[in-house]
């Protein structure tokens, strides 16, 4: 599992010769690759953009998905099934086809080259909604009724009880979507024209061209790109495990 990752880090401190041919023996740790890579493109700006876009997008996705999943699981309304299936179907659309029509829409809205274009279209994730739907559907009913009887509105129940009770799954999909937003390439490229709004993956373009790629620098910058994700992951990892408060039976030993 880890091999590619290790190789990536390893290659990031090599010379182009090494990575091009893989034959010359290991020479030295070229840590300066990181500095070179960092300076080769406005990575500071890219970082800022990536952070803004990824956080805004993921937050937006979480909010819209949580709301919708709640409605689909906890509310009764006309057209529930049809709407749900229709949304499900959108997961199956080949995204590449939508790029151009979407660009037209966004440029009509004058959103091209604004954060809005990078964020808003992605704040709806049917995959996330579907995942949360499955999780919310498994919640015991009585908790909902108890909360409603305790005076909680649907809204309060959703945010004060349902969401914390499903922390694990929400964290899991949250981080998955964060990753995919963070690594998004085509969309930010098409939707932005200048470096002002570009995100980290576009920075990686600096090291590849039509005639070849500078692998060590590419790898070094890739490490720079994904480092924040790993840090975030380590931060939320504890949320991926049910807390003692929710484990009904935890064995003492064995």
């Amino acid at each position: 599992m880890l091999l590619p990752f290790i190789w990536m880090v390893w290659a990031s401190v090599q010379t182009p010769t090494y990575t091009a041919t893989l034959t010359t023996p290991f020479s030295d740790w070229h840590w300066q690759n990181y500095l070179t890579a960092w300076q080769a493109a406005p990575f500071g700006r890219y970082y800022l953009n990536s952070i803004i876009v990824a956080l805004a997008t993921t937050t937006g996705q979480l909010v819209t998905s949580i709301l919708a999943a709640f409605a689909f699981t906890h509310l009764r309304f006309y057209g529930r099934r049809i709407l749900f299936n229709a949304l499900l179907v959108t997961m199956m659309v080949p995204g590449e086809l939508l790029l151009i029509p979407n660009f037209k829409t966004l440029s009509a809205l004058h959103w091209v080259d604004h954060y809005a274009a990078l964020i808003i279209p992605w704040t709806a994730s049917v995959f996330m909604m579907f995942t949360l739907h499955q999780a919310f559907a498994a919640q015991p009913r009585t908790t909902y009724y108890a909360a409603r009887l305790d005076g909680a509105s649907d809204w309060q129940y959703l945010w004060r009880l349902l969401v914390p009770m499903n922390r694990t799954v929400i964290t899991a999909v949250g981080i998955l979507q964060l990753i995919s937003t963070w690594n998004a390439f085509m969309w930010p490229l098409i939707m932005t024209n200048t470096d002002r709004l570009r995100t980290l993956p576009l920075g990686l373009l600096t090291f590849s061209s039509d005639i070849g790629t500078n692998y060590p620098l590419l790898m070094a910058s890739t490490v720079l790109v994904i480092a924040p994700l790993i840090i975030i992951y380590l931060f939320v990892q504890k949320n991926l495990i049910l807390g003692i408060s929710q484990v009904k039976w935890h064995e003492k030993s064995h």
Partner: protein, 304 residues
């Protein structure tokens, strides 16, 4: 509540909750989808001037006869069959062992997580190296079991397999995380009860884990089918912007991309998109059907 019927009021309220998702989906998926799909029926279409010659099924006829499309279709189906069951089975296995791991559980989890964050370009490069004929790690192992080395990426007989391996590896992390999160939610009491009832590990799996994990397995399977039917990035990255040796890894999505962005044939691409979409819907329904046969009344909410 529990048995209340939908009313206009409740519908309005629900729509309010769904509105954000719905509006964005309508604007950025449904609407462009119509536009893109409509293109599949245009003939003599000037893409830039948006002049439509006529409406016809000519694009589909073209696809029907196009050898490259047939190849792409075949490859995609083989690919799906190769990837989906294995990747989900493997993910389930690993998720289970992670779930039961007492030591290093966090570390192991992180290990499975890392491929997820590693960008697909980097992954492709690394795999290219692993697959490379001369120094490839894979061929090293083949050598150990006394097999002739294989030029994985340049031999049309193996390159699809290579792609399958990469995609399985790449999708593992996502599936593991989702399955793991779902495994956590299974009440431990059911396992205790089953153990007391004499169930061995396998019986616990088939009788408790599997049925209670079905909703998540369903989700993961559907997602896997959808994502893998649309496989493109991995091909593009692994084969450095080509569809493998002699198009051996040409997938439907790659075909679509090629027609759309490289060969200036957007109408054919759109037609291909429609076909791909149809296949996805079909396979998804199939998956649903297979996995949803056992439906039981839950303490929770009736799933749609």
């Amino acid at each position: 509540m529990l048995n209340s019927r939908p009313t206009v009021r409740s519908t309005l309220k629900a729509l309010l909750y769904i509105a954000p998702l719905l509006v964005i989906s309508l604007a950025f998926t449904f609407w462009p989808l119509l536009e893109a799909f409509a293109m599949g029926f245009y003939r003599h279409y000037n893409f830039y001037l948006n002049q439509i010659g006529s409406l016809s099924l000519a694009n589909f006829q073209f696809l029907w006869h196009d050898a490259a499309f047939q190849l792409a279709l075949r490859n995609t189906l083989i690919f799906i069959i190769g990837v989906v069951p294995v990747s989900i089975g493997l993910a389930l296995l690993l998720a289970l062992s992670l779930h039961h791991a007492r030591h290093f559980a966090k570390l192991l989890q992180t290990i499975y997580f890392l491929p997820l964050v590693t960008s697909s370009v980097a992954i492709a490069i690394v795999w290219r190296w692993l697959f490379s004929a001369e120094h490839g790690g894979l061929n090293g192992w083949l050598a150990i079991i006394n097999r002739t080395p294989v030029d994985w990426l340049n031999d049309p007989r193996y390159s699809l397999l290579a792609l399958i391996i990469v995609c399985i590896w790449h999708s593992l992390g996502l599936n593991i995380i989702l399955l793991l999160a779902s495994l956590q939610q299974i009440d431990r009491r059911y396992y205790l009860a089953a153990q007391l009832d004499g169930a061995n590990s396998w019986q616990q799996f088939t009788n408790v884990t599997w049925p209670l994990l079905t909703p998540m397995i369903l989700l993961v399977s559907i997602n896997a089918v959808i994502v893998n039917l649309k496989v493109f990035d991995q091909v593009y990255a692994l084969f450095n912007g080509s569809a493998g040796p002699a198009n051996a890894d040409l997938t439907l999505m790659y075909y679509l991309y090629q027609k759309f962005y490289v060969e200036d044939q957007p109408t054919i691409a759109a037609a291909c998109g429609i076909v791909l979409f149809g296949i996805t819907v079909g396979l998804t329904l199939g998956t649903l059907w297979v996995l949803r046969r056992h439906h039981y009344p839950q303490r929770g909410w009736s799933p749609s």
